[in-house]
Amino acid sequence: MKLRDKLEILADAAKYDSSCASSGAPKRSSAGKDGLGTTTGMGICHSYTPDGRCVALLKILFTNFCQYDCQYCVNRRSSNVPRARFQVDEVVKLTMDFYRRNYIEGLFLSSGIVRSANYTMEQLVEVARRLREVELFRGYIHLKTIPDADPQLIALAGKYADRLSVNIELPTQESVEKLAPEKNVHTIKMAMGTIRSKLDESQDKRAPRFSPGGQSTQMIVGADASDDRSILDTAVTLYSAYKLKRVYYSAFSPIPDSPSSVPLAPAPRLREHRLYQADFLVRGYGFQVPELLDADRHLALDIDPKLAWALTRRELFPVDLNRADEAMIARVPGIGLRNAQRIVGLRRHRRVSWADLSRLRCPMQKLKPFIVVSDYRPAAEPQSEQLRKALIEPPRQLDLWGAAA
């Protein structure tokens, strides 16, 4: 099979993984050196495909031959897809050639399970080793970790990779048992635990380098009946137990010849978007999951989770932006972390007024009912229900991938 054919098949097979981050690696430079590549810490999207997704990495499977039969996956063994398999050399060369032309920040390599977890993992590690040790490649490498692989292989993967990820795929043990019979939540957690322990060890400067960009995972949304509450609870569990950098949510999209165990219809993208927003509120703003989902088990689709929260906590509002602390200001619908910081900064020079907020490009309509500033306070309190109706976002295509970045 020609290289182009392999690339087509194995890029197609890998695109369901939504992780594309190329950030979090320590700074590296090849200026004046042999070898190739840099990492600036920030990550760069080198292109966007018409689905609005960023292309930062050469995201491919090593092979899409797979002996597992995960029902949501296009590469499951019972699927009738064309199959291909790279040679180690081919992946190395593709990465270097793409990198030189400034198409990518690095490589994201995953794989179907062939022969055994260890065998599969060995191939992935070998690609990374060749890139680092033979080609002196200093760009970004993300390796998918096969949960049942030997911890020693995981340690080796972390030696070469900037990020490792183990996909949990589904939020509950029951769903994993049902839809991914060969996978096992216990071994997935064990792999995440191994990675976390190594990450902890690597905090010590004398310890060997290990996956400096940490680890991440992905959950498919809408392939099973799990509600948003259990998805977010699982996410929070994973964040704190295994110190994940990110949990990616991927709205289930039907695949060719879908088995009857998974839905026929795609999950709403908006749901995925709301999960990213809620996840970000938990990680960045200090919200607790029960605050965002106390009565309902699902996030509202028509309004964003912060607004939904504020509407149930009317007693906390309006917030006086000239007095409140930064954390509370950031909880006001329409004010993000950076603007909260700027507002507090501005208070050192003068009292914050309406015009200041509008210059900070705050969405004033949304903000209005929730704030007090030097020259404005909301008139009589409208009912939450009315407010909610007034603040529903006009339907439009959302930035489903960038939003949570």
Binding site: R4, D12, K15, D51, A241, D399
Partner: protein
Amino acid sequence: MSTRHRYEIADFEAWRRIARELLLAGVPPHDVDWLDVSDSGSHTLSLFESAGGDVSAARAPAMKPNSSADLFSAADVSGADHQQMPSSDVAEHAAPVLRVSRQCLDVLRSAAMFRDAGRWALLYQALWRWQQGDQAAISPADSDGARIHVMVKAVQHEIHRMHAYVRFRETQGERPAGSPQFIAWFEPVHEILRAGAPYFRQRMGRASWMIATPGGIAQCHGEDIEYGPPIPQPPPIDDAGESLWLSYYQHTFNPSRVNARVMTQHMPVRYWKNLPEGKLIPGLVAQANAGSQQLGQTDSVGARKGAPIRVSAARAMPVREAPRTLDTCTRCELGRHATQGVAGIGPRNASIMLVGEQPGDQEDLQGTVFVGPAGQLLNQALEAATLSRDAIYLTNAVKHFKWEPRGKRRLHKTPAQQEVDACRYWLEQELTEVAPKVIVTLGATALRSVLNHARIKLQDQRGRPLRHGDTWVIPTWHPAYVLRVPDPRARTDALADIVAALRQAQALSESDVVAG
């Protein structure tokens, strides 16, 4: 009486020189006319119709408070020489020292790259205000500051886009001496070539490359970057490597998620003509919108012959150690949130058994009892009591870690009585199997579980061996408690209590006195 001043400005350095003179002379902004004569002055943009598209997504400059950069002084503390105002004639002026914060200077320098004829006047206005003590002049909430920030954001965004959207083509075969191997043509909207090029030196190692733009070129042959005047747009090189990229681009696209608006927002149409993949976009969008791609798989892949893998479900199942029953225990909810059950460890014929409360964060990860901070303290206590850890049996009342999330950490939570009761099932198996002569209970949970008595208090029992069936039970503190005691004296005492309990356990285990 004021005179009007008129200056022609070609670049930031020229502006900085003149701004310095003007500030010293106390010339207010409204007395100065600034004329933009940069080579891009001819095609200026209106300030607020930034061709950068969505500028709001760009990163703002780091807003850390910074050391101040003396506008005049040559003594630049950081050594970053680009931070200084030119200063050849400092001494002659003996004028008040003009200081501007590094942050302010950085902001102005970035804003100056924004291609707009009005930029020099705006920058001088902001600098003037700053000198007057009005530091809000560069705050994004200020009216001048807001304009400047829009410029800075647009410039940073454009630099970022240069890093992203430069596309090198590789010259094939022989090339004339001195001609670079990788050549790119890029058309930035702002004057960012010098700000954007150094990144490629880091990226490309010793490879030789050139980025040509309508305003000038940057090239590098593995050492320093050289900048030069513009060259005509080079004819595209026929680079075979590019076609693989086009294949990749097409196939990493998921047609079932088509969302051209978002793509265009991130990658505005004006870049497409210099991106090899740009020419594919309209076709891909059209195909996806035509509805032929409901399944998210690209045509050319779907059209190929497929093959299920002929492996039986039984053979496909990975070989795993049979899960220990502990790992599959559902007697209570704790197992769901933990990594693994942590069983006791030690000789089956040990005469001393230590029972703690539950595994902690480290025990949960490593699958072994007493390996975290409390475990280390326990080791100390064992050593002090001259007891060998290998000779005793160590376990916990509850086998799974109970915790609650606190940001990126897990906070220990005391197990509820019903969890302790549920888990006694496992502890009793261990007790029966090991049948120790002496049990040291560490903390209240262990004591209650071992005695199967929910209301018993550790304070009342501590330090006194109790007889429980055929066994001695010695209640003492949990080492984790010792770690929590704030007062150093009390901490030493608590640790001594544990050591004493262990000594007592040893004595009792060696005596022939059988409890009962």
